[in-house]
């Protein structure tokens, strides 16, 4: 088996050392190491492979937008070694059969570890629990359950789901969106929506569900994860819940760290996303929450769509944007270059913590001898313009087209094998 030596990189942005990868593990860390293939990492940071807790791979059902293979390629290109495939496929991943199918497709693609997320309720309809235990016991060993795209709005169903998954250390990942407050909603409710005449999506529609759910989690002693938190009020509620010892974790997306709702003034549906882009005060609050650990992780909510679903008027367009390939550059731009976070904290928010929440024991491990070689080498100093047509995802709906973003993934190693070298897929 070929051995690889990553030379001169800064491990977690701290000490500079070489790293020898052999037979799937980190064999040695030190100076002047030798291997079959040399990856020059001078000036780069070396991080544990990124783990995404929130990825839409669209297969089965919407292979025109993304497949497990094309999504895995985009993930590898972005420095990920593990993604959690959301359940809102067609058919919905609400049975052992579907989650095992996705899991197998991930193994066949072989570029990242694909961990299927199971639906909480049958067909995402919010009425009857899906067979959560069967999905947990399946080959896919599901631990994260979510109706993402829809909110588990019924408080009694949510309570039971939170309780039920305690039996196998599962977690409910809630898409917090009060449905009655967001009927036909198109964008954040605020000054911009009032001007544009687009139906508003009030912050309270997210916050009310989060407030309810942290109290439910406390009551039943269960683990709750909050998807794509987007408002300042949500950060406050999570902070309050954690102070009370409630077992809650939360994620923020790169795009909610980066954009404000002002970009919607273009009426370009590339910016149409659920939850919607919020105000500058919200962006500031989620950045602060991520830095101080109130928000545990960054998750992409990578949501590919074919061009016809975005090349239309706003209200006819689909919600969602791609994010796997740009995530690390956005975190660099919004958190590291602003000195809000260190690279060690980035490793925590994008690898260690998400692996822990998802109970993925092969991922999110320290860069230490003997650990599985899931590694990303990132050059934080190059400036690159995003060209949507160059994306390796099955879709082109990146909102960063035309933006110059800081940083580039130089190499990704998944279980000791390179998936990206010299910034290209292997």
């Amino acid at each position: 088996m070929t051995s690889y030596v990553i030379t001169g990189g800064s491990l977690l942005g701290e000490e500079v050392a070489d790293l020898l990868i052999d037979e799937g593990v980190i064999r040695e860390i030190g100076k002047n190491l030798k291997g079959d293939v040399v990856v020059d990492a001078a000036g780069c940071v070396v991080l544990p492979g990124l783990v995404d807790l929130h990825t839409h791979l669209r297969e089965p059902g919407r292979e025109d937008a993304e497949t497990v293979l094309s999504g895995s390629r985009a993930a590898a290109k972005g420095g990920f070694t593990c993604v959690h495939a959301m359940a809102n496929t067609n058919p919905v991943a609400d049975s052992a059969g579907v989650v095992e199918q996705v899991w197998r497709l991930g193994r066949e693609a072989g570029l990242v570890e694909v961990r299927p997320v199971g639906a909480v309720t049958m067909g995402l309809a919010g009425q009857n629990l899906a067979e959560l235990g069967a999905m947990a016991d399946s080959a896919a060993a599901v631990r994260v359950f979510s109706d993402d795209g829809k909110c588990v709005y019924d408080a009694a169903i949510m309570r039971r789901a939170l309780e039920y998954v305690k039996a196998f250390d599962g977690v409910i990942a809630q898409h917090a969106q009060e449905p009655r407050l967001t009927e036909d909603a198109q964008m954040n409710e605020g000054i911009v929506s009032s001007k544009l005449g687009l139906a508003g999506w009030p912050a309270v529609a997210e916050e009310a569900i989060i407030a309810r759910d942290v109290l439910l989690a406390q009551h039943v002693g269960a683990r709750l994860h909050v998807c794509h938190l987007s408002t300042a009020g949500s950060v406050d509620i999570i902070r309050w819940a954690k102070a009370r010892g409630i077992n809650v974790t939360a994620e923020v997306t790169p795009h909610h760290l980066f954009f404000t709702d002002d970009v919607v003034e273009s009426y370009d549906p590339i910016y149409k996303v659920n939850p919607p882009l919020r105000t500058a005060a919200d962006v500031e609050a989620v950045r602060a929450g991520l830095a101080d650990g109130t928000i545990d992780i960054v998750a992409t909510d990578h949501a590919p769509h074919p061009s016809e679903d975005k090349d239309c008027e706003w209200s006819a367009a689909a919600f969602g944007m791609t994010g796997l390939e740009s995530a690390l550059a956005i975190v660099n731009a919004t958190m590291v270059r602003t000195k809000a976070m260190s690279w060690a904290q980035v490793a925590d928010r994008m690898s260690f913590a998400p692996a822990q929440i998802g109970k993925v024991n092969t991922q999110g491990q320290a860069l230490a001898v003997g650990n599985p070689a899931n590694i990303v080498v990132f050059n934080p100093d190059v400036e690159l313009e995003v060209v949507p047509s160059q994306s390796v995802s099955g879709s082109r709906n990146t909102p960063y087209g035309g933006h110059t973003l800081p940083g580039q993934v130089v190499a990704t190693f998944f279980a000791g094998k390179p998936t990206v070298l010299e910034s290209e897929l292997v």
Binding site: L196, L198, S266, D268, E313
Partner: protein
């Protein structure tokens, strides 16, 4: 001016140019010259995704009086209703050689997409998009106000206008709030709190929940159409309560200064936001608004197309 998408596209001067041009075109039409020649050989497409006979016929009459060729492309009975995308329709219109597209669409921002996505090269006129804007309605309202209150001259400095009703869902209110202030008028928005948009305090208008207290000092009252179905979504309890609190009846009209006029963009819900006696009273200019609409739309098409020969 390449497009007219929003009242924010208009400066004080460009708006006054449109109003002055409208009154010249109205005078020429009144002299019975018949068709005026300036848009001969130009093609104007009326692309209507919503039923609105009054707005469509107004644009059609305006274009024809300027000798343009008019194509009515309505959503009913065409490929549009069979799910053809706005983009594909736009490409069709481009192939047909549309010099201007007048678009009415149920989706806010659709005219912006049409104008800015590279699908067509001609000008775009927003004839009402979702709950966003209806700039030619605001222009015709400004024209009407100027005729009655400023001797058809200059701007609207010092004019006080109350806009009453469902501001939240009204594209007419949005465009008027912008344009009337651009022209120097002051605007008071009146309605139940549920029908005033979140963030309305940033519009530069006075806001009131009390119609009775909002009439004493106005030069004009503009009543907005209120759909009865709104009460099903709990915006207000009943049509009865709405008209009691926010309808313009003769008792309320009597509180207005003698010179003040009553406006309505139509179509009216008589008995809901306005009573029949007020709608038909001497101070009502509702019928005149319709004829002013044609003049203003002639001016918009003329200025959009007349001066761009060879560059479109």
């Amino acid at each position: 001016m390449k497009h007219l998408l929003s009242a924010t596209d208009l400066t004080r001067d460009s708006a006054i140019t449109i109003l002055d041009t409208a009154s010249q075109l109205a005078a020429a039409t009144a002299q019975g010259v018949g068709k005026l020649p300036p848009l001969r050989g130009r093609t104007v497409v009326n692309l209507f995704y919503e039923d609105s006979t009054r707005t469509r016929t107004s644009f059609e009459a305006a274009a024809k009086r300027l000798s343009a060729d008019v194509i009515n492309f309505s959503a009913k009975g065409s490929s549009v209703s069979k799910g053809e995308s706005l983009k594909d329709t736009a490409l069709t219109l481009e192939a047909m050689g549309a010099d201007a597209v007048v678009i009415r669409h149920h989706s806010s921002g659709a005219p912006h997409r049409l104008a800015n996505s590279g699908w067509i090269s001609g000008g775009v006129v927003n004839a009402g998009d979702g709950t966003h804007e209806h700039p030619t309605q605001a222009l015709l309202d400004a024209y009407t106000l100027r005729r009655h209150l400023r001797d058809n001259n200059g701007d609207l400095s010092g004019v006080k206008v109350a806009i009453v009703g469902d501001v939240l869902h009204s594209r007419v209110a949005r465009s008027n709030a912008i344009l009337l202030q651009t022209l120097g008028a002051s605007v008071r928005l009146v309605g139940p709190p549920t029908l005033l948009p979140f963030g309305v305090e940033t519009w530069g208008c006075e806001v009131s929940y009390d119609l009775d207290g909002a009439l004493d000092d106005v030069d004009a009252v503009m009543m907005l159409r209120v759909q009865r179905e709104r009460m099903n979504a709990a915006y207000f309890p009943s049509a009865h309560e709405y008209s009691n609190r926010y309808g313009l009846n003769s008792a309320r009209a009597a509180r207005m200064p003698e010179h003040a006029i009553v406006m309505h963009p139509g179509p009216m819900n008589r008995g809901m936001e306005i009573t029949a006696d007020v709608a038909d009273s001497k101070r009502s200019v509702i019928v005149e608004q319709v004829s002013n609409g044609v003049s203003v739309r002639m001016a918009v098409l003329y200025l959009l197309l007349g001066g761009t020969e060879g560059t479109a």
